[in-house]
């Protein structure tokens, strides 16, 4: 459950990227956030994942008020979120498997259990055969799926993805969207920012559209 009310975000330069945005997202929902470039989609996702703090308003994620969140509590909030970044942020100094292992090392899982879970996540996104590959040797679609594997390996309750299909051809984009639909079917809340929010055939999704930082309905 996510509740944002009267959210404003003003960046240090003075630019107001979000203006009085209020919304509710129920657990298990699938939401697309649309809007033109610069509308504030990434900014909204950054507030949801506590990478940025709102200038005013309130935001509650999984029962935690992000406006008043202590610095020490931040890591534990993040472990319940699966984040897929616009620039993916894969690590190119290690294998695909090691990329997926990182979140599990962070929570201190035993190496055996961690390897088992990481392989299961790679399998789910269809990359098990490429576990030893360096991400740099993967195609754009494969890199995106690797980023998804890393985001879901911790079994988060909320998946947050920023433009996950932006640079993919139709076939790869469909694979990626199918993955999100599959996770949503097991009650994971999915929030995806995209500049072109198409509906998904046979799937009930909500579209929230931002326009110059304000929510248009």
């Amino acid at each position: 459950m996510i509740v944002g009310s009267q959210l404003c975000k003003r960046y240090p330069g003075g630019f107001e990227a979000l203006k009085n945005v209020s919304f509710e997202i129920a657990g298990g929902e699938m939401v697309l956030i649309g809007g033109h470039s610069g509308a504030g989609k990434t900014t909204l996702l950054k507030l949801l994942s506590a990478i940025e703090r709102p200038t005013s308003g309130s935001l509650v994620v999984n029962g935690q008020n992000l406006v008043a969140l202590r610095h020490a509590a931040l890591p534990f909030l993040r472990r319940n979120l699966g984040l897929i970044f616009q620039d993916q942020k894969l690590l190119f100094d290690r294998t695909a498997l090691d990329n997926v292992l990182l979140p599990l090392e962070i929570i201190g899982l035993s190496p055996k259990e961690a390897a088992r879970r990481a392989r299961a996540a790679l399998d789910k996104v269809g990359l098990l055969e490429r576990e030893k590959a360096n991400p740099i040797a993967l195609s754009g679609g494969e890199q995106q799926r690797l980023a998804i594997a890393r985001a879901v390996v911790n079994r988060p309750t909320i998946l947050i993805a920023d433009e996950p299909t932006a640079n993919l051809d139709e076939e790869s984009a469909r694979q990626v969207i199918d993955l999100f639909v599959a996770f949503n079917q097991v009650r994971v809340t999915v929030i995806i920012a995209t500049h072109a929010p198409h509906g998904i055939p046979g799937k009930d999704v909500r579209v929230m559209t931002l326009d110059h930082g304000a929510l248009a309905s």
């Binding site: 890591p75 942020k89 690590l91 990182l102 962070i106 201190g108």
Partner: protein
């Protein structure tokens, strides 16, 4: 608890991997740390050896008590009883007759001695106190001098005092040296850890975004500093071992020329452990400073 061990073990493993990823620079900084630790450690060892040398040279702790030539037998017996009470079995008596006999035994002295009208030598006691610290010897000598019939107490403590002052000065110098080199060691660790943090900036950023605590991010760097310092300590112990081994025969030879059985003492096992622990602790301090600064700059 199990998780705690696992996290620390994982951090240690990540630290080792990081060190092994740049083997040459790791080796170099371990060498630098080792050499920096060798100098003060060798200084302390030298002081220990000098102290042992001072304690082993008997003349340093020997004093002679000379009775007056006119002292009565009763006075000599009294002195003997007093000595036995004060320093049981730490003395021996040299009668004036024995002393004359010894003098006669010297080449060319026999004639001169026999031409003397009477024995000019006094009765004497040679004292070797177990507690030979300069202060005790000083106090002892004034006590003995106050006894009846005692002419003179001869004490070679001026030499001991000078030696002691020299040792104190040496200790001070080595302490200063140790402080300077400890600062150097911290600086070296600071620098290598800083490079490691910057090289791992991307990983640190990602780890933070996906839920790493500060501890998870810092721990491997701490272990890295501790490992480098500890390995530097081992290098220092090795260098000192090599140095002692190289010097020992010459020192033994020199000691033999002086009729002494003095032998150079190397590092004992507790010393080696202390070296490694010091290196590790200083490495930890350097890493802690470095990581705090580098992470603050990265934010």
């Amino acid at each position: 608890m199990k998780t705690w061990f696992r996290q620390h073990f994982a951090a240690l493993a990540r630290a080792s991997r990081r060190l092994l990823r740049a083997p040459l620079s790791t080796l170099l900084s371990i060498m630098v740390i080792g050499i920096a630790m060798t100098l003060p450690a060798a200084g302390y060892l030298l002081l220990d050896n000098l102290k042992a040398l001072g304690a082993s040279s008997t003349s340093a702790q020997q004093m002679s008590l000379f009775m007056e030539t006119s002292a009565s037998e009763k006075q000599v017996a009294e002195a003997r009883d007093n000595l036995q009470a004060l320093l049981p079995d730490q003395w021996r008596f040299v009668s004036r007759a024995d002393a004359l006999q010894q003098l006669k035994a010297n080449e060319g002295m026999a004639e001169i001695v026999s031409s003397l009208p009477k024995n000019p030598l006094p009765d004497a006691f040679i004292i070797e106190p177990v507690d030979a610290s300069p202060e005790t010897l000083e106090r002892l000598s004034s006590t003995l001098a106050s006894w009846n019939g005692v002419a003179h107490v001869q004490l070679d403590s001026a030499w001991i005092k000078r030696f002691d002052a020299f040792l104190r000065l040496g200790r001070l110098t080595v302490n200063l040296l140790a402080v300077i080199f400890a600062a150097g060691l911290i600086a070296v660790t600071f620098n290598t850890i800083r490079l490691q943090v910057l090289a791992g900036a991307e990983e640190i950023e990602v780890a933070r975004l996906i839920g790493a605590t500060d501890g998870f991010i810092r721990r491997p760097f701490y272990y890295s500093g501790i490992l480098q310092g500890g390995l530097g300590g081992i290098v220092a112990a090795l260098l000192i071992f090599v140095g002692i081994t190289a010097l020992s025969p010459s020192v033994a030879q020199l000691a033999q020329l002086y009729g002494s059985h003095f032998a150079l003492q190397g590092l004992a096992f507790p010393h080696i452990l202390a070296l490694i622990a010091c290196g590790g602790a200083l490495g930890f301090v350097g890493a802690q400073l470095s990581v705090s600064l580098a992470l603050r700059q990265m934010k």
